[in-house]
Amino acid sequence: MITVRQAPAYLAVQDLGWPVGRGLGLPPGGAMDRSALQTANLLLGNAAGAAALEWAIGAGTLAFEAPTRLALAGAGGDARLGGSDAPPFTVLEARAGDELRVERLRSGAWLYVCLCGGVSVPPILGSRSTLLTAGFGGHGGRLLRDDDRLPTGRVPDRAPAPGLALPAELRPADEGPIRILAGPQRARFPDSAWDALLAGEYRIAAGSRMGYRLDGPPLAVPGLGDLPSEAAVPGAVQVPPDGLPIALMPDGPTIGGYAKLAVVLAEDVDRLAQRVPGAPVRFEALTLGEAHAHLRAARARLEALTTWVERARR
């Protein structure tokens, strides 16, 4: 059992969300940075999609009633556990009564506190994620508050030993531009819009779990007025009439009427999600074949990570 001693402005239970349900209007939801969540879970010997605490915007404190193994991933911050430094991607052990204190997030937007055994709130429609727009899932469908208590699940057999740190090459990296594919309405835009998206430097103007609004060179959007709404996905780069792109995020609409000039690779939605307002964003176009090669490499990294953790436990 863990207790929220002091809740940061945003603290919620998230896993990998709802793999299906788009037909009901249910968004994929779940962790904004899925690779961070999966990496820390696998390091702990958990299933990759075990529910964790997603933390953003400011300081907070969690208290552990019983000895608990945990790992941090995602945004970097000044984190201390029981008074000692708590580095990311490292198996940490909280003793009974210890507190995890995060003073502030220095880099990135979303910090994951993964616990051995996961956070064991009841699943709703197959996920433990919190869908704030609909007020269900996670802990009562809401953000966590001071004094909330959360149960942890069954600890995996032979959990990795405290101190085990993941080598750099097995951690998610944020290098290079954000990779995109041409979106389904790419051909309806003039080439100048596509060229401007690739050449321009954008900045995050504002962000939420539903979408990130970008600021930069406005994109041309001729003749696209009355497109009937069609399926949208996280990473879809929509261009509303003002020409400033919006990248959809995991809680975004499942159906949208704005033209989609591009779609960010799933893996890079994680990287984009970690950009805070004001942070620069550059895009690079890939072919579908290249995107699939990256997806294969991303899955291979998670498999290599699982193998590495298995070996380290022996």
Binding site: R22, G23, L24, L181, P184, A231, I255, G256, K260, V263
Partner: protein, 217 residues
Amino acid sequence: MSRPAPAILPLGESALTIAIGDRVDPGLNAWTRAIRDAIDRASLPGVREVIAAYATVTVFYDPLAADTGHLASALGEIARGVEPPPAAAPTRLHRVPVRYDGQDLEAVAGRTGLSVQEVIARHAERTYTVYCLGFVPGFAYLGELDAALALPRREAPRRRVPAGSVAIAGRQTGVYPYETPGGWHLLGHTDLVAFDPAREPPALFAPGDAVRFEPVA
């Protein structure tokens, strides 16, 4: 009869959108659902979920479990083989009680040149079809709204539209299942719960259902 293959375009690296048409039309929408059902029945390997919108079908799949080129040809074949369905009676009719006390009722009357009573009468006199679900869980896009009530979305969307709001925009109407931001014009309110994760199925409305709004005091 052989039709040209529809355009099939990637929506990111693990979804394909099949464009059946590019307008809001009840017949096109019914055809879209028939194609969705045919793809569902085919149980193609690697396919996770198939959804129909107004005039598109989107297939979510695992590109490492299914070759995209093969999947796209299989989808094109299936889509070509589905005839536009004859106008069929909807499977279900929902009666939605509405208190017509929405914040925009007077403004809608003003902008359409109708009286408030006429706005209510025209909204409540039609039987609508659920074109698709989306935006947020359980939000049903319903059409076709009386042309006399058609207004573009509000210039500035509201930050908070109350849950249960019955609203209109363009030739469409719908019920907001949750308090969300929204740009539609609010005509009234219903107590019906459009989405409840504890219910089976969780969504009150399904694409193809018929819906009538009934004024209550």
